[in-house]
Subunit: 402 residues, 2 copies
């Protein structure tokens, strides 16, 4: 098999952690697999370099920042290659450029345009282990670019797609995707398999582990992703794959919790045509991610509008809403809420999933403020103080610990 | 003018030292010059990376070591470019590759094969200040290589030669080349100008400042070198140039001292033909740099052979001499000696320079053990304990403080 492995910052966070990664790679190599390993900078390095840059400028020139930040991953890739060569393995480090990764010119958040796999294929055919410096590429003009947050995961997934690897294993410090956050529900179980779409909906469970951008790319390129731990490499991780590859589909796969939500309420909005459209267009123009929306029209013809936004967009949202003050009787913001979601591809063909959720929360006297449903997800906005109770009781109701 | 400036590790040793370098560059730019600055890694960085590599291997794979070590200069070049852009100057960092520096495959001590100046010329024509990461290039196969000790100086000189710069200024923490080591003779004077050949002979005075490899390349490429300090940029440095460019040639330019010499004596060598040749061939085969040689044939037909080697070659020399033990009555090694040299292009046309040296030392009761002379240098081996006295009295005898 051709395996692409990705090791994040904590997995290569010290010299002996790098040695540990070398041992993982050796073992996989000894099992007869071809290996391309993608590495991040040692944890703390990138932040140190950003601090250096900020000594000179609050807004460092982006193309220069990329030249600066790309050095951290190069260091890790060279060290890992040195460790493998020392033990008699043929390994070769490659920068983004050497690995053939071409991006657009959007420095600090570049998009991969294509990957010329020639050098990598040649090295593989020569029996070499390839160590790619993640997070970086090169523009058409030959300047170094970086891919932004989670960039090394993208490098790994894009390489796995381009070179048609059998699997792309993402190593972090957690050993897979759980039915819910084990810090909230100790009975949470690690999932063996999960579909791309479920993973995207469970983002809050896996955000530390897998960013949506990488999962989306894996789905698009049809890459089998595995989330596993470099601290316990003997533990099988969670496979994230096409729905068709999952034989036994559970009705519900997991319970996600998101506390970083703010509920915006507009009460007594004048019943002018298009007012809701105008509000949401303005919010979209400011790149504010509106999540759940409920609109209720009262008997007096006045409208109440409820929606949620991420906490990070709060200030921007307030600025936009200022413009619509004249249209509403009252606008209020509530950050003491949270979003609990039930996710599972099995829902599509099962009835009663939603009603079980409502019943379960009702039994605990938890009021649901907003509900939104999709084919594979039911999300509910509730008071934040009930967050953990709601997660535990839903986890139990769907028998996720079994 | 087009100026190539080179800033070494101590000149960019901290963030505020880098800011200081930005200020020097701005001033030169404001005077209307085009600028290409070549930078080293921040002092300590390269050693830190070597320590990292040695954690994994006593003899790290050289091509990977180069990938590793090249990152330090990239960081400095990006930071300096960020500092200049912040202050409204158009600056662009370039790695060795981006600057068009192609080397051979001798990783960790690569030789520059050619420089494609296209990118640099384009950037200059766009009014940009170029900041080149020193010490590194790229092989024909596209792998990163480094140039070994003093590599950033070589980068600067090679670029200055290839792009036909008007001057190549090497900034360190000393402000030029002195008539002798000021720690020995406080009356030592800074030289305004000196020829390449004199600089090469004065290596011991300038070794910290300019390595012979760079001076040789400057001579070959006809590059005007200036040695000056980034700590006192207002002080004019020393120009190292062609002899023809130096109007007023002093008889003696400086007094050099080298304490890192060992004298090897072979006494009572059998008068076999070719024995001396065999010894020196064997030493050369081991890359031992034999400096001064004296051979004396006694009345009995036996030969005494005296020569000096650098202290660093001592162990290797002893191994070679072991093979010739049978040919000599006695071999001894003396490390309590030193070499004092009088250097000056004016000697060629002046008589009496050598006799003045011998007289001066005789007056101080200093015995000369070995003498060797060239067109522009007289070197003498004396007892090490007289080193400082000899330097001071010769400095005085040739009126170098005037």
């Amino acid at each position: 098999m051709l395996k692409v492995l990705k090791f994040g910052g904590t997995s290569v966070g010290s010299l002996d952690r790098i040695q540990n990664v070398a041992n993982i790679i050796k073992k996989i190599r000894d099992e007869g697999h071809d290996v391309i390993a993608v590495v991040s900078a040692m944890s703390g390095e990138t932040n140190k370099l950003i601090e250096y840059a900020e000594y000179f400028s609050k807004d460092p020139k982006k193309s220069e920042l990329d030249m600066l930040l790309s050095s951290g991953e190069r260091v890790t890739s060279a060290l890992l290659s040195i460790a493998l060569n020392e033990q008699g393995y043929k390994a070769v480090s490659m920068s983004g450029r050497q690995a053939g990764i071409v991006t657009d010119n959007s420095y600090t958040k570049a998009r991969i345009e294509n990957i010329n796999t020639k050098s990598m294929k040649k090295a593989i055919s020569e029996g070499k282990i390839i160590i790619v410096a993640g997070f970086q590429g090169i523009t058409e003009e030959g300047r170094v670019s970086t891919l932004g947050r989670g960039g090394s995961d993208l490098t790994a997934v894009a390489i796995a797609g381009a070179i048609e690897a059998d699997v792309c294993e993402i190593y972090t410090d957690v050993d897979g995707i759980y039915t819910t956050d084990p810090r909230i529900e100790p009975k949470a179980k690690k999932l063996d398999k999960i579909s791309y779409d479920e993973m995207l909906e469970l983002a809050s469970l896996g955000a530390k582990v897998l960013q949506n951008r990488s999962v989306e790319m894996a789905k698009k390129l049809n890459v089998n992703l595995v989330s596993r731990s470099s601290f316990t490499p003997e533990v099988e991780g969670t496979l994230i794959t096409k729905e068709e590859n999952i034989m036994e589909k559970p009705v519900v796969s997991g319970i996600a919790l998101d506390k970083n939500q703010i509920r915006v309420g507009m009460y007594g909005v004048a019943d002018k045509p298009g007012i809701a459209a105008a509000i949401f267009t303005s919010l979209a123009d400011e790149n504010i991610n509106v999540d759940m929306i409920v609109q209720t029209v009262g008997v007096d013809g006045e409208t109440d509008l409820d929606f949620t936004i991420p906490t990070t967009d709060f200030e921007a949202c307030k600025r936009v809403m200022e413009k619509f003050k004249k249209d509403a009787g009252n606008i209020d913001y509530n950050d003491s809420i949270c979003k609990v979601s039930i996710v599972g591809v099995g829902m599509k063909s099962h009835t009663g999933v939603a009603s079980k959720a409502f019943t379960t929360l009702a039994q605990e006297n938890i009021n649901i403020r907003i509900i939104s449903t999709s084919e594979i997800k039911i999300s509910m906005i509730i008071e934040e103080k009930y967050a953990e109770l709601a997660v535990r009781s839903l986890h139990d109701a769907y028998n996720l610990d079994k």
